[in-house]
């Protein structure tokens, strides 16, 4: 049962956002020296690190594919990542599912045919979670992959939309997610608009679904811009240093 809770008052959400507003997103690329690529994202109160290793020999041997690289993903939440109790470290059933659907997003965009017999491992660790961690994790991992130089057709982004009362809203935080009527994380390849991840539970009409996808695609322009800025920034800094001379 949903407890009664006013999540939207006078068109404003608890944190002051309007229905279509994203939380503030900051991405830093190249944060883990040992990895082939990495990124750190702050998305509202979410704090997530992602790192990519590979292409490297796929292990154990029997899982390797002679035609293409296999994509492994491991999404985990740190035991200290929530305001509530100490969590269990490692993978629970939720993490297994999120890891699976996340790997599937990147299988579609990475040029896997280029690396037969290899694996590419994507690690996503949630340091602090405040709703929408799988979406923020995918957005962050896409940047980590781009910094690794692994060839991709597209750089996906993800964000969730949902329903609070009768309103469709974008980017639900933890408390909104807990009391919302529906939550729907979506990942999209911006060049084609193809939907690479779609999950949903709750209660949604067909019209609200269309509205939600529309909001996600609109927000995608902003998220893609932030992702690209994170990729360019280290080079800009070097360029500026040389300009100063």
């Amino acid at each position: 049962m949903k407890a009664k809770m006013d999540l939207i008052v006078n068109g404003k959400r608890l944190d002051g956002r309007g229905p279509e507003d994203l939380r503030e997103i900051k991405i830093t690329s190249n944060v883990i020296r040992n990895a082939a690529g990495s990124a750190y994202i702050e998305w509202g109160a979410n704090k997530i690190i992602s790192a990519v290793y590979g292409p490297r020999e796929a292990l154990p041997k029997h899982i390797s594919d002679p035609d293409k690289a296999i994509i492994k993903c491991r999404y985990t939440m740190a035991p200290f990542s929530s305001l509530e109790e100490h969590g269990k470290p490692g993978m629970n059933r939720r993490a297994v599912e999120i890891s699976k659907v996340t790997a599937e997003v990147f299988e579609d965009v990475i040029l896997v045919d280029s690396f037969p017999g290899n694996e590419i491992s994507i690690f996503i660790e949630v340091l602090q979670g405040d709703g929408g961690t799988r979406a923020a994790g995918i957005t962050c991992a896409a940047v980590a992959l781009a910094t690794s130089g692994i060839p991709m057709r597209d750089m996906p982004y993800a964000v969730s939309a949902g329903r609070i009362g009768e309103s469709v809203v974008l980017d639900l935080n933890k408390i909104e997610d807990n009391y919302s009527e529906a939550d729907m994380p979506v990942a999209i390849s911006p060049r084609t608009g193809n939907i690479n991840l779609l999950q949903m539970d709750g209660i949604l009409t067909r019209e609200q679904f269309r509205q939600a996808i529309g909001m996600v695609k609109k927000a995608g322009e902003t998220i893609t811009r932030i992702q690209k800025e994170a990729l360019i920034k280290p080079y800009q800094e070097i360029a500026e240093k040389y300009m100063e001379g």
């Binding site: 608009g193 539970d201 209660i203 067909r206 996808i213």
Partner: protein, 261 residues
């Protein structure tokens, strides 16, 4: 790879005539046979044949502690077993990510639609009823998601409700029914050689690039899950949603008939 290419060509030419390997149309279900009450030891049970996919789902109800965030609601725990006897492709061992995904998607539709009235499963402070749904596949020929959801919902709707008296769980004698409030059904589609087909069998799944499951009741979408490494366009998903509302009318009737309502 030669055989794969030939099979792909074959499927393409069949699909271009709106026909599948088993002569179904692209948006047609296989024959569904659903029966309830086949395992009397379980509080609820159902057996489904979805074409050659054979699934038995049991519902057991016991007593347990509530989840910290829902202290006054019962618990719902859904598991899936892809038994090694069901396919060459399955091995014994801990549940695979595929199996976990199936269990979680079946669970999500049932939970979101309020099939079980969880608020009526409260016993006393710190004590609630726990409803265990176990989806076991005995012969696998594709589309576990819909076979799982249909059989689980039928098993729940036909389940008897144990009683709690003097600190004991009473499972026999005159018992009422598990309190339920809604019917949810799911429709699963796969994109195979570029076409979206309903209720894929295992041959089609072997060629599927992406998959989507839509769970809905009469009025609302209740759960969705996209799977596999390919993608869908927005309009492909919108037509899948429209079709699911249409197909679910028949599926609900099949469940009602199996439950005997």
């Amino acid at each position: 790879m030669q055989i794969r290419a030939i099979t792909e060509e074959y499927l393409k030419s069949r699909y271009s005539r709106n026909l599948r390997d088993d002569n179904r149309q692209l948006t047609e279900y296989r024959k569904i046979v659903l029966k309830t009450g086949i395992v009397p030891s379980a509080e609820g049970s159902a057996e489904i044949f979805l074409g050659n996919t054979h699934v038995i789902t049991g519902v057991k109800i016991g007593m347990g502690e509530p989840m910290p965030d829902t202290p006054e609601d019962g618990n719902l725990i859904t598991s899936n077993e892809l038994l090694p006897m069901a396919s060459e492709a399955f091995d014994a061992g801990p549940p695979s990510p595929e199996s976990i995904e199936i269990a979680r998607v079946v669970d999500r539709g049932i939970r979101a639609a309020g099939v079980v009235d969880m608020s009526k499963l409260f016993i006393e402070a710190g004590k609630v009823w726990e409803v265990f749904i176990d989806v076991h596949v005995f012969n696998y020929d594709g589309n576990m998601f819909d076979a799982g959801t249909l059989s689980a919902v039928a098993a729940l709707l036909s389940a008897r409700m144990p009683k709690y008296e003097d600190g004991k769980v009473i499972r026999e004698g005159s018992l009422g029914r598990l309190p339920t409030g809604n019917i949810v059904t799911s429709c699963t589609y796969a994109k195979v050689v570029g076409k979206v087909v309903l209720d894929p069998d295992s041959n089609e799944e072997a060629f599927a690039s992406s998959r989507i499951t839509i769970a809905n009741d009469e009025q609302y979408i209740r759960a969705m899950q996209k799977g596999l490494s390919g993608s869908f366009t927005q309009s492909e998903i919108e037509s899948a949603i429209e079709m699911s509302f249409d197909k679910s009318k028949t599926l609900r009737e099949i469940i009602k008939k199996a439950v005997g309502d």
